[in-house]
């Protein structure tokens, strides 16, 4: 294997592993901040126990998110040095801004929150969690502005063989980046909500700590429903924008080959990349794809054949990941809507609880699938239409990358397994008994 492919595999492994933990950090921090605020407002001890119980799971997850993030910061230099030289002016500065404005705050306050129960007033301690939640989500803003620039580069000139910054405002107001941010963060909130609902469901099924977990479930439920609705609405806008600025990606997401007007949407499609067609197209909804993309059932949707073969993204991966994401996104809305009707009798709805328990992994899959659409769908470009991925890797020996790739898989696999085992173990243990929690 060549150094480009190995570096891509390593980057994919490192990033996707990182993104197993980040969404929960983003979503759960908001829920915990809310629980702790309720504790300050009501002095109801259950809220404090909730804060501590979910906080413990949050911290294990947070540690894995942080350590896997550090390697990402340096991987652009180690594995993608040609890319780094080319984009440092813009991309590098966004990463540096993320560290100085957001990550510092989040990491410093995590220590304060863990050790500060006695040192801070209740209000200040709750405020600390809000700041952690805000800083984490602010990090996502900067990272997605950086990714948004790779997807839809703006505000630069090619000078001295590099992309040099000419308009910083254009970079930070890039609409692609903001749609991406809203979509990703809402997806993270869905994941956080399903995590809380799933674990609560497990305890409710076992009929233990019923009050504690019914209330946890009911906090997460409306949050999850709102996030699930939001993620699909923003996703719709995002998709229409992708059609405008990255038509090849949109065509690959839909496995749409010929440029046509009044394009239907097929529920079942099997793409055949080699012959530039689909083996199977079933259950037609007339005009729907045109409508989704252009807002008009007779609108024109550009097909893959319009673009030279060497500029097209891999169709099967992009298409499949997109279908999985959309199907799961729809499921999240339906299942949380059902929850809304059952919320008063959760403890007596074992089937629903079973379903919610089994749903814990689904938002993880949806979030990762979303990233595959965004990143694989951008290929063969590392910076869309400006730099090809094949030209971006470091001029280093493939063997070096091969060894580090194996090390990544082994170390991450092991730590991930231990991490999830610890989360599961502590989740199963349940909250501290009542009067212990205060001290």
């Amino acid at each position: 294997m060549d150094v480009v492919l190995l570096s891509r595999l390593q980057f994919a492994a490192a990033t996707m592993f990182h993104f197993l933990f980040v969404p929960l950090t983003l979503g759960l921090s908001v829920l915990i901040a809310y629980m702790e605020t309720r504790y300050v407002q009501t002095e109801d001890e259950t809220y404090l126990r909730m804060t501590k119980f979910w906080g413990k799971l949050f911290l294990i997850n947070f540690a894995l998110g942080v350590v896997t993030g550090i390697t990402l910061e340096f991987q652009f230099g180690t594995n993608w040095s040609r890319y780094s030289e080319f984009v440092g002016d813009i991309f590098g500065s966004l990463l540096a801004i993320e560290a100085t404005t957001s990550f510092f705050l989040e990491s410093t306050l995590i220590g304060v929150w863990v050790f500060g129960w006695k040192k801070l007033s209740k209000k200040a301690h709750a405020a600390c969690m809000w700041l952690i939640a805000i800083a984490g989500n602010l990090s996502a803003v900067w990272i997605l502005i950086a990714n948004g620039w790779m997807q839809h580069p703006v505000g630069f000139d090619i000078r001295n063989g590099r992309a040099e910054l000419v308009d910083f405002r254009a970079v930070v107001t890039n609409s692609f980046a903001w749609l991406e941010f809203l979509h990703v963060v809402a997806g993270a909130f869905v994941l956080g909500a399903f995590f809380v609902m799933g674990i609560s469901a497990w305890h409710l099924l076992k009929k233990q700590n019923t009050d504690f977990f019914t209330r946890s479930f009911r906090i997460a439920l409306p949050f999850g429903l709102a996030a699930a609705l939001f993620v699909s609405v923003v996703g719709d806008f995002h998709g229409a924008h992708v059609a405008e600025v990255q038509p090849e990606k949109l065509a690959a997401m839909e496995a749409h080959w010929e440029t046509k007007t009044n394009v239907p949407f097929y529920l079942l499609v099997v793409p055949d990349e080699k012959n530039e067609t689909n083996l199977l197209e079933m259950i037609e909804i007339p005009g729907l794809l045109s409508f989704l993309v252009t807002g008009d059932v007779n609108g024109e949707v550009r097909g893959l054949k319009e673009f030279p073969k060497e500029d097209r993204p891999p169709v099967l991966i992009t298409f499949t990941a997109f279908r999985i994401m959309v199907a799961l996104g729809t499921y999240f809305i339906i299942i949380t809507l059902i929850g809304l009707f059952l919320r008063k009798n959760l403890a007596d709805s074992p089937i629903y609880l079973q379903v919610m328990l089994c749903s814990i992994p689904l938002p993880y899959i949806a979030n990762l699938a979303g990233w595959i659409v965004a990143e694989v769908g951008r290929q063969p470009w590392i910076v869309y239409k400006i730099m090809r991925t094949a030209d971006a890797a470091s001029p280093i020996a493939a063997s070096q990358v091969g060894i580090s790739l194996v090390a990544f898989i082994l170390v991450y696999g092991l730590l991930g397994a231990v991490g999830f085992w610890l989360i599961a173990r502590n989740a199963a243990k349940g909250p501290e008994t009542a009067n212990l929690a205060v001290n």
Partner: protein
């Protein structure tokens, strides 16, 4: 021009602050298997850095990010050239981070033993490797128009290793002093004795390094050209002496602060000697990367300067607040709360 010079020193400052803060965590982590006699003492040592290490580590992320933003060509060349060494550092830091969180979660001796070992490796290895890396930067790399020709073993030359040992002892002293501040009783007495004894080793290694630097690098050229710069070395030595002085007076915080100053001086000794080079070629100066030929555009440098001038003081302010919040000895509650 002025912008690039400013950024050169800011770049050095961020690395210096990283070593000054996370340095004591590396020291404590390295001491963990040797200084603690039982699990409670181990937990006390970990809790002594518990509220801080996460925030301290971000200085590394900031230093890396700023290298990327201000000197993208340096970022690309340095990290791809030193690929294997950097990967080792990153894996070590990953182990340290998860070990701190995982260790306390299961009450079982062999479980905790594994993570103690990870904390040790994850602290000692980066300490040594960062020293090796910086000593090699001072010395220069076999780099020419065709790129980098070195190997991982090539970095482990005598001078590089001496740099690694220097960093390790700087951090051991720094960590032991922090333990004096945060612990009591027998553990503190042990930390005190260690800090007292290891000070002599640290000083000897530092002096050896200064002498070796004369023969192995060209760092002193800048000092000979501007003899007033030798003041920095005097301050550096004074900071070392102060460390010992206040330690003997049991003024632990002042001693730790002196040690912090000494670490910053050590880094700046090298940074000033390098100026304006950031990645020297040992083959031909024409291939050396400098602050002038590896920097971003003036606009990026300006924007980043504004960001750093606003946010870094803010970061220092809230981190200082956090340090004061947890300035007291590790308490029983601290151990129950987290570790």
């Amino acid at each position: 021009m002025e912008l690039q010079i400013t950024w050169f020193f800011l770049w050095g400052l961020l690395w210096a602050v990283f070593f000054m803060t996370d340095g004591f965590d590396f020291g404590i982590g390295t001491l963990l298997p040797f200084m603690a006699k039982n699990d409670k003492e181990k937990r006390t040592m970990i809790a002594a850095m518990g509220p801080f290490w996460d925030g301290n580590e971000v200085w590394l992320i900031a230093a890396g990010g700023v290298t990327f933003a201000a000197f993208p060509i340096l970022y690309a060349t340095m990290f791809s050239s030193l690929y294997a060494a950097l990967m080792l550092i990153l894996f070590a830091l990953i182990l340290r981070g998860v070990a701190m969180e995982f260790r306390s979660k299961v009450e079982n001796d062999s479980w905790r033993g594994i993570w103690d070992m990870c904390i040790f490796i994850g602290s000692a290895a980066p300490a040594v490797l960062f020293g090796v890396a910086f000593a090699n930067i001072f010395k220069g790399f076999p780099i020419d128009a065709n790129g980098y020709h070195g190997t991982l073993l090539g970095l482990l030359n005598g001078y590089g290793l001496l740099g690694g040992i220097l960093f390790l002892f700087l951090f051991l002293e720094h960590g032991a002093l922090w333990l004096c501040i945060k612990t009591e009783g027998e553990l503190q007495a042990r930390a005190y004795r260690f800090a007292n004894g290891v000070w002599w080793v640290m000083l000897t290694v530092a002096l050896l390094f200064l002498i070796a630097t004369k023969y192995e690098t060209r760092l002193y050229d800048n000092y000979y050209a501007n003899p007033v710069l030798f003041l920095l070395l005097i301050v550096n030595v004074a900071a070392f002496v102060q460390t010992k002085f206040f330690l003997m007076k049991k003024a632990y915080f002042t001693a730790w602060f002196s040690s912090a100053l000494a670490i910053v001086c050590c880094i700046f000794f090298g940074i000033i000697g390098l100026f304006p080079t950031v990645f020297p070629s040992s083959i031909d100066d024409a291939y050396s990367l400098t602050a002038f030929n590896s920097s971003s555009s003036p606009l990026t440098l300006k924007i980043m300067l504004a960001v750093v001038l606003i946010f870094v003081p803010l970061v220092i302010a809230y981190q200082t607040w956090a340090y004061f919040l947890f300035k007291d000895k590790v308490s029983k509650e601290d151990l129950e709360e987290a570790y």
